[in-house]
Symmetry: C2
Subunit: 220 residues, 2 copies
């Protein structure tokens, strides 16, 4: 398993650097997805399901950002067979564009259509830094509650796709899906909202289709 110790960025202007990275990715035909969520909302399980539906159609690689452990990158590799690298942030709570570039540099240089960055589990800091991604997605899981868009406004404002995971446990939680949709759209009226259960596979097809459509648009 490739483990990369990410270094702190020296760039003063992250926004400028992120735009530069996006241009480079456009030229290389690589779509970068930045996937965020709270700890334990099901990022890795969701990714495994989505990748297994898409890997025969497009070439995928994954960067797993974590403060310390390697468990996610190993899990992705074993469950999907796609290339994955582990990025250690050394305690840092987010990734910016330069840190993301360090990760991309360790992936195969050619032939990737879709690079996925699984960001650090955190609803605050990752939202503040443009990683250079083409699209931002986040997972809110049912047990966390439908009020999260009220409490973590920036995260929901910057996400193009909001996945609502763990719908299989809806009967056991006071989670109001309609209110959740309303709060998400309050932050970002253009957000796509897709309820799923990564455990049962329900709704995964829709997420895979959304991603495939976005990758194809980017590569036109």
């Amino acid at each position: 398993m490739k483990v990369i110790e990410i270094k702190k960025s020296v760039f003063a202007d992250n926004d400028q650097d992120a735009n530069l990275l996006r241009q480079e990715l456009k030229q290389r035909g690589v779509f970068l997805l930045n996937l965020m969520s709270s700890p334990g909302s099901g990022k890795t399980t969701t990714l495994i399901q989505v990748i297994n539906r898409l890997k025969s159609q497009i070439r995928i690689a994954v960067m797993e950002a974590d403060i310390d452990s390697d468990v996610d990158a190993v899990k992705i590799r074993e469950a999907t067979g796609v290339e994955s690298v582990q990025l250690h942030t050394g305690g840092m709570c987010h990734l910016d564009a330069e840190m993301t570039r360090q990760g991309l540099d360790h992936l195969s240089k050619e032939g990737i259509d879709l690079a996925i960055l699984e960001n650090v589990g955190n609803l605050v800091c990752p939202a503040e830094f443009d990683t250079g991604s083409v699209k931002n997605a986040m997972i809110l899981s049912v047990p966390e509650g439908h009020d999260k868009p009220l409490k973590y406004p920036l995260m929901f404002t910057i996400c193009d796709l909001v996945i609502i995971n763990k719908t299989d446990v809806l009967p056991y939680f006071d989670f109001d899906m309609n209110k959740c949709r309303e709060y998400v759209l309050m932050r970002n009226p253009k957000a796509t909202i897709l309820p799923i259960s990564a455990k049962t596979g329900e709704g995964i097809d829709a997420v895979a289709q959304w991603l495939l459509d976005e990758v194809r648009k980017w590569k036109l």
Copy 2:
């Protein structure tokens, strides 16, 4: 509802400032608990249950830190009747000692035995800043998974009390309580681990007793 816009700290040495705050609190006979967790793990619901068991025995006040919203402070006040203030961090992902002092300054100056700081929902940044608290507690909820101490090492290292919440949904998740205990103790062999369900009230008595004992020791 009192809402305080927290200002960024100017102190260079947070550790020194935190020790100073602890000394001041000791002199005033105030015990400060710093409560942390991921978003949606049940901090506010747990606090309401614990406070309602303790409020006839000790005088309690709560500081609710949030990036933006006021929902938690209102909820605490309505459900318990104790004094509560809302601290707005203005996007900041943590509180340090000086920010905590700004909050304490807005609570009644005299007669508080226990001040509780409900920190920003985040397993990364709050762990890095000593708030001046006498004890640190965190809540890990069953849906987040038993592997979290592996992925967020510092949080579990610095916590004296680890509350495992939402045990009522244990049948619906692959959560291994024994492994969780093992991982927590790997980070901090002296941690107290208490499983609870804030929803059903199971285990709350033990948390209230732990807190009452700690407050009494501090005030000796």
